[in-house]
């Protein structure tokens, strides 16, 4: 499907939904919008597909006194989206928020309000944000290693090859939209890293050269673009993806889990924005013992997060290994950071830990 076709479809869909509302109003009935519920309660972990699938729980927003403002805002936002798509333009989430300032009383007070309305439209139409003309401003992540990214020159439209080995101590920055990119690579695997600190150390010491791999710094919870970028690499070049985060519930279930199976909030697009083949190599609770790592005590929020995950997260519920890891962590009452290996020696992580872990799949977590 060409971009133009997609665009036409999006515009048609927006018009269809709006006409439906218009006709309901003409019939003197309360108009409604129906959209999937965006939360962990409404996803299931599909082992076969390897990501969070949306269930069929929907919410209906009926036009009443308490919903009329959001209702008006949603329609306004759909109008903006239609304009953007028709003119082949894009607006960042922040820009969309500022556009709303022209809507008089229907304007958004804070950006999270407009983000949420945007997510609703996305889910209601079953498309992703970029398709309806909105892009995030957050960076997609940083890449270094054995990879050539093929992008288009913004002026000439010709192919542009970007060699990710040639950024020195810097790195290639994943753009917010990655669908048009293609790759050339001889790397053996992708290593996705939580912190930019660890990424810098590995990059500086040319770990990617030694291990023949692509390093991706996620900088916290991976953005959609970052997830999609890794997914494309994994799909198109059959590369295994290994994930290396801090040893705490946040690293496991906010960062790793979102990368691997997607999020509850944007479950309608998880299919494309996740990396089901990803494997977790560390830092595991067992690593704390095996490598005798210095630790910090778990905080109140960590315990809360663990409880919540065990109770509500379909991914954790599916994997006994993860439940055991969490139990072990709860028993040990400690968490560990990626940088803890520096206690041995600054390069211990790339000289000893990573080679050992990568060669021993039994010590990974699913």
């Amino acid at each position: 499907m060409t971009k133009k076709e997609t665009n036409n479809q999006v515009v048609l869909k927006i018009k269809d939904i709006t006409k439906g509302i218009y006709n309901t109003i003409l019939l003197q009935k309360q108009p409604q919008m129906e959209m999937p519920i965006r939360s962990l309660n409404n996803v299931t972990y599909s082992d076969k597909e390897g990501y969070f699938e949306l269930l069929d729980k929907t919410k209906t927003r009926t036009l009443t006194a308490s919903t009329i403002k959001t209702f008006a805002q949603t329609l306004r936002m759909m109008g903006l989206s239609k304009d953007l798509v028709e003119t082949n333009d894009m607006a960042t989430k922040r820009e969309a928020y500022y556009v709303s300032k022209n809507w008089g009383e229907a304007r958004f007070k804070e950006q999270p309000e407009s983000d949420s309305v945007m997510d609703d439209i996305e889910a209601m139409m079953g498309v992703n944000r970029e398709q309806i003309g909105f892009i995030p401003e957050e960076k997609g992540g940083a890449v270094a290693g054995e990879l050539i990214v093929i992008d288009k020159d913004q002026e000439t439209g010709k192919d542009l090859e970007i060699d990710c080995t040639r950024f020195g101590s810097g790195a290639y920055s994943v753009p917010s939209s990655v669908e048009h990119l293609s790759f050339k690579t001889k790397a053996k695997f992708v290593l996705a890293i939580e912190t930019s600190g660890m990424f810098e150390r590995l990059n500086k010491h040319g770990y990617w050269k030694k291990a023949s791999c692509i390093l991706v710094s996620m900088g916290g919870v991976p953005t959609r673009a970052c997830r999609r970028f890794i997914r494309k690499l994994a799909d198109e070049h059959k590369l295994p993806v290994y994930v290396f985060t801090d040893g705490d519930p946040y690293g496991y279930f906010n960062i790793y889990r979102t990368l691997k199976v997607g999020s509850g909030n944007a479950a309608h697009i998880n299919e494309f924005f996740c990396v089901p083949s990803a494997k977790f190599i560390g830092v595991t609770p067992q690593d704390i013992i095996d490598y005798d790592l210095p630790t910090h005590p778990l905080k109140e929020v960590d315990y809360k997060k663990m409880k919540d995950v065990i109770k509500n997260d379909p991914f954790c519920q599916h994997y006994k290994e993860w439940q055991k890891a969490l139990e072990q962590m709860a028993k040990m009452k400690v968490r560990v950071e990626q940088q803890a290996f520096s206690a041995k020696s600054l390069n211990y992580v790339l000289e000893t830990y990573l080679p050992e872990k990568l060669s021993n799949p039994k010590k990974w977590l699913p």
Binding site: I14, T18, I25, Q30, L63, A65, S66, G79, E105
Partner: protein
């Protein structure tokens, strides 16, 4: 100093007459300052006039006139259309303290002690040296008795200065009292004006024609031709009689035996109960009352307390009625909400009583002030000593916050509200002889609180409703704000013109109206409100405003309804 012996001291010891006592303690009777003295004198005369008319089953028409004689001297004239007083009784009624028909009986009349009007005569005599003039006519073809009177303060006996018969053409029967006294006339709170107005409110069967010193004439016309039921006299209930009274009753009774005494002098005591009392007192039913010693009477007193005796009858008292009370309040205050309640009769110390309460909320009343309280006892307005009154403390002890008024701990609530409480009883327990505050009996304050709570619950549901409507209006406002945005957004997406967009707006307005229902409105709907009446007693307290008010009176005259007229 040289010591004195008992004989020397004895020379100074002598009897004090009740008249002398009150000469020195006139504040006890409500004559403590010139302004209040004038008000109290009017009050006593009007109370007597109303009692007399009602007892004779005559619809009262009372004329009150205050004439300013000099800067500090006033003449008070109160004239009624009552049955009149026979010549022989006039001196004692008007010029002997503690003489009257109401002290020894229990009935729901205004007067109780037989002090009030003679105290006014005494006060006039003390401040001006002048006698009071009484004119009274008892029948159509009779002449009127005309008497000038003073009180002999040493003996508490009337002193007749002049007595004669005159023609009193304009009246078939009635009584007129004129007293000159030192005083001070001022409008505003606690004024004669306010007293007469409140009297008119709770006595809708009487007409009062009031001529102020300015002079202005205010007429409070009667609102009903129906007299309240005649107060029924009852005998005391055993529980309400104290030891001293019991001794006195045994001394004066004509009964031959104790049992006979008990059954004839008390209410709710039959032979059975009488025998039971005797048994509980370890006394024989045939004991001779006159021969009983103090100790035996004390046994009897204790025996009474031990015996279970049914409560006194309550049909001897008649309330104003919730409906009448509310109607009166409607005249006085322009509010959004009114309610009133009459409690079932209850008993304190053997005396039956009824509490009534009414409440007016919102409307023209100020919301950041302490609520206004109107107190009445046996249809008499109580204007002074609000803080010492059981009604006030009962209001304070009621929790008004849950009923939608502001209230800091155990103080009077704040809000746009007026509360009216009326107590009627065969014996109203006043805290002093000036009869301005109710004593704090548990049984009474409990009943007051119950009446207030009843009104409070109705108030709460009104306040909640008002809040709901306000919220609803807010929501509708909110809806109206966003309807055009919905219409515009739809219009822009599918390309609609102004007419279609207008159609969306109209339909949405209708749809939401349909879903939410009609918006209720709270309006002041009170045809009974009488702004001229409400103004009386609320005037500025400063005297120099009187001329201005006069002007105002003239200006507003054409708007006045025929209920009430002010004549310049």
């Amino acid at each position: 100093m040289a010591q004195k012996n008992a004989e020397e001291l004895a020379k100074k010891q002598r009897e004090i007459s009740i008249a002398e006592f009150f000469e020195k303690n006139r504040h006890l009777l409500g004559f403590d300052n010139p302004r209040r003295a004038l008000m109290t004198a009017v009050k006593e005369a009007v109370d007597n006039a109303l009692d007399a008319c009602e007892e004779a089953r005559i619809l009262p028409e009372i004329n009150v006139e205050i004439i300013q004689l000099s800067e500090t001297r006033f003449r008070m004239i109160v004239e009624d259309n009552g049955p009149g007083i026979i010549p022989k009784q006039i001196p004692k009624i008007f010029a002997k303290l503690l003489y009257g028909s109401k002290f020894h009986k229990l009935s729901a009349t205004r007067g109780q002690q037989g002090i009030g009007i003679s105290a006014a005569v005494l006060y006039g005599q003390l401040t001006t040296g002048k006698a009071a003039t009484v004119t009274s006519k008892t029948g159509k073809d009779k002449k009127a008795t005309h008497i000038k009177l003073k009180i002999n303060t040493q003996t508490n006996e009337p002193q007749i200065l002049e007595e004669g018969e005159i023609e009193w053409e304009e009246k078939d029967h009635g009584t007129k009292i004129e007293i000159d006294m030192d005083g001070f006339y001022q409008k505003g709170r606690q004024s004669i004006d306010e007293y007469l107005k409140e009297t008119a409110i709770v006595n809708p069967h009487c007409t009062i024609i009031y001529t102020t010193p300015e002079p202005n004439q205010i007429i409070f016309p009667r609102a009903t031709e129906e007299l309240p039921p005649e107060p029924v006299e009852i005998k005391p209930h055993p529980y309400g009689v104290e030891l001293g009274r019991l001794l006195k009753m045994l001394e004066t009774t004509e009964a031959k035996t104790l049992q006979q005494f008990l059954t004839s002098e008390f209410v709710r005591v039959g032979p059975g109960t009488a025998k039971e009392i005797c048994a509980n007192s370890s006394l024989l039913p045939n004991t001779k009352p006159k021969k009983m010693t103090r100790e035996l009477v004390e046994n009897l007193y204790k025996g009474v307390q031990k015996t279970k005796i049914i409560a006194p009858p309550t049909d001897c008292i008649s309330p104003i009625g919730a409906e009448n009370l509310e109607r009166g309040l409607r005249k006085e205050v322009n509010a959004e909400f009114y309610c009133a309640t009459t409690r079932p009769p209850s008993v304190y110390r053997g005396n039956p009583f009824i509490i009534e309460a009414a409440l007016g909320f919102g409307g023209d009343q100020e919301s950041d002030k302490t609520i206004r309280i109107m107190r009445f006892a046996n249809r008499v307005p109580l204007l002074y000593h609000q803080g010492a009154c059981s009604i006030t403390s009962s209001i304070q002890k009621t929790s008004w916050r849950s009923y939608g008024l502001q209230q800091s701990k155990s103080s009077l609530p704040v809000g746009p509200c007026i509360i009216v409480v009326h107590m009627t009883s065969v014996w109203v327990p006043f805290t002093s002889e000036s009869k301005e505050a109710l004593a704090d009996y548990n049984e009474i304050s409990k009943e007051i609180k119950l009446a207030l709570q009843e009104c409070g619950r109705k108030l709460a549901s009104f306040v909640n409703k008002k809040r709901r409507i306000k919220d609803e209006a807010k929501k509708r406002n909110y809806i109206e704000k966003y309807i055009p945005h919905v219409a515009d957004a739809i219009g822009e997406i599918i390309g609609l013109g102004t007419i279609e967009r207008k159609k969306i707006e109209d339909n949405l307005t209708e749809i939401l109206e349909h879903v939410r229902g009609e918006l209720e409105e709270i309006k002041i709907d009170n045809p009974d409100y009488d702004p001229e009446l409400a103004k009386i007693g609320l005037e500025d307290d400063s005297e120099k405003d009187i001329s201005d008010e006069d002007e105002e009176g003239k200006k507003s005259k054409p708007n006045k309804n025929d209920k009430q007229t002010t004549l310049a």
